[in-house]
Amino acid sequence: MAAAISTQRLVKHYGDVKAVDGVDLSVERGELYGFLGPNGAGKTTTISILSTMLKPTSGAASVAGFDVLTRPYDVRRRIGIVFQDPSLDEELTGRENMVFHARLYKVPRAQRDRRIDDLLAMVDLVDRQHSRVKEYSGGMRRRLELARGLLHDPEVLFLDEPTLGLDPQTRNHIWDYIRRLNQERGVTMMLTTHYMEEADALCHRIGIIDKGRIVAEGTPSDLKSQLGGDVVHVKVQAANGAVADALKALPFVRTVTAMNAGVQLEVQHGESAIPKVMDAVREAGGVVESISLKKPTLNDVFVKHTGREIREEDMDAQGRMRFFMRHRRR
């Protein structure tokens, strides 16, 4: 079966800026693929090319089985997109925005109203469907855009920073919708984000992009396990050499470091290791006082591959700024 999204050495230059610099992607049908990278990494540019809005400098790409350059209209009919920046008509009501979209995509009349009802219910906007979008909050707008992107039953859905600038509660809501859509309808999704935890929580597979290049790719747990496993810290009363020796003997423990009043272990699959670690300590005559688990984060992965951090605080400031720009009124 052909991939839902595939690119070959995709390149887009803006003058001297190499926005996309040789990207090879292959996303399977039904997959939820995450594109993670800092500001200016080339995420939006890639999505613009895949959605036929932008011509690449070189390279090839196909979406839903059609070449984006030679068959743009076939691609367009099969994709949905939630843009990074707003794209609603603020003068129209939520429902009118939906109807307009249904007409553009030739959703059959017989299905139109029911589909709109269903989707508005899904994003909890039934009560506000007849208010003008002008009067919507940022989260409501985002949810409406999400519902609109699904109205024509796309095979592939692009989500460009779907939760940028939203509060944690709304963000969680949107995560739920995204998961459900992917599971229940089997929609292939490509999502961009610079929130680590978002990519981690949602995506089957992640591509980390930096300066137009994919620097690492894999499932979130694969990426993190490249870093040598989880860190378990065990605080032991009456610690002695026997405890450390017993732990060293466990097959899944990679390293044991003695600390004052305890040991730090680097293990594979920390969750399943913890009970076994506790048993081993007890058998060696120690008493476990407390135990903690620290998982490596995607940020550690990003650091490993680029030597830099995706600094969350800076991102959030920028995200807020963009959010503000996005919602400035006429």
Binding site: R76, F83, F100, R103
Partner: protein, 263 residues
């Protein structure tokens, strides 16, 4: 076929937006009515001779307002229509244009939908002004066509003015980033188009170079055709007027479609 459907979709959106803001209808009427009231009446009485007759009363024009009202109506439509074209700049700024550009529709249906929408608003404005000018001001239908035929011809001419000027606006908007620049360019175009259209004074006796400039102004034919449809007299043949308007409408349509396609 799908182009027609998409054009109607875009037109429908413009209509929804228009009727949502009744203030827009009112503002589109205010300026022309102020012109008719203040300028028309001012000229009528300001130049009156002691015996009550006026030098601006000539031919079959009962008063200066009777002469100038068709021109003022055309002016009102000119201003409204050029700014209907500008709305695509706002669609771009507010991001809504992306929704249309990524959809499986031809760009040309967007341009057609916009000109249809702009034409509709211009017609609503033009017809309302025509009715008010007839009922409340001195405008008299004296055309040999009779009132109904004259009125219908007015609507046809207004539709051509609407479509062509909206398209002119769309063409400029496709090439300009900001509405400030659009404003500048449109002022530069619209003012001469109004003053050199024969809306305010007859042009037959003007010097030769003036005549040449005026001949290139499409509004000149629109005003002349409106006057013929209402008063039954005009400076040019109605066939020349309508022919020139059709040509201008066609030209601006192609220009708008081309420019937008490439932007």
């Amino acid at each position: 076929m799908t182009i027609v459907v998409d054009t109607v979709t875009v037109w429908n959106r413009d209509m929804l937006r228009f009727f949502r803001r009744p203030s827009r209808i009112v503002t589109s009427l205010v300026t022309p009515l102020v012109w008719m009231g203040m300028f028309g009446y001012g000229m009528k009485y300001g130049f009156a001779r002691p015996d009550g007759t006026s030098p601006l009363q000539f031919g079959n024009y009962a008063s200066y307002l009777d002469f100038t009202a068709p021109g003022i109506i055309a002016m009102g439509m000119l201003f409204t229509s050029i700014f209907s074209g500008m709305s695509i700049i706002f669609d771009r700024q507010f991001g809504f244009l992306k929704e249309i550009l990524v959809a499986p529709v031809r760009r040309i249906s967007f341009v057609f939908g916009k000109s249809l929408g702009g034409m509709s608003t211009a017609l609503i404005q033009g017809v309302t002004l025509l009715v008010i000018a007839t009922l409340a001001f001195d405008l008299r239908f004296t055309t040999g066509l009779g009132f109904v035929a004259g009125f219908l011809l007015c609507i046809g001419v207004m539709a051509m003015i609407g479509v062509s000027i909206v398209n002119l606006g769309v063409a400029i908007a496709a090439k300009t980033e900001s509405h400030e620049v659009f404003f500048l360019i449109s002022q530069f175009l619209v003012m001469p188009m109004f003053f050199l259209s024969g809306a305010l004074y007859p042009t037959k006796t003007l010097p030769g170079w003036f005549q040449i400039v005026i001949a290139f102004n499409p509004m000149r034919y629109g005003v002349d055709a409106l006057r013929w449809a209402i008063k039954g007299t005009s400076e040019l043949s109605i066939f020349v007027d309508v022919g020139a308007l059709l040509l201008f409408t066609l030209g601006t349509s192609v220009m708008a479609a081309r420019f937008f396609e490439r932007s």
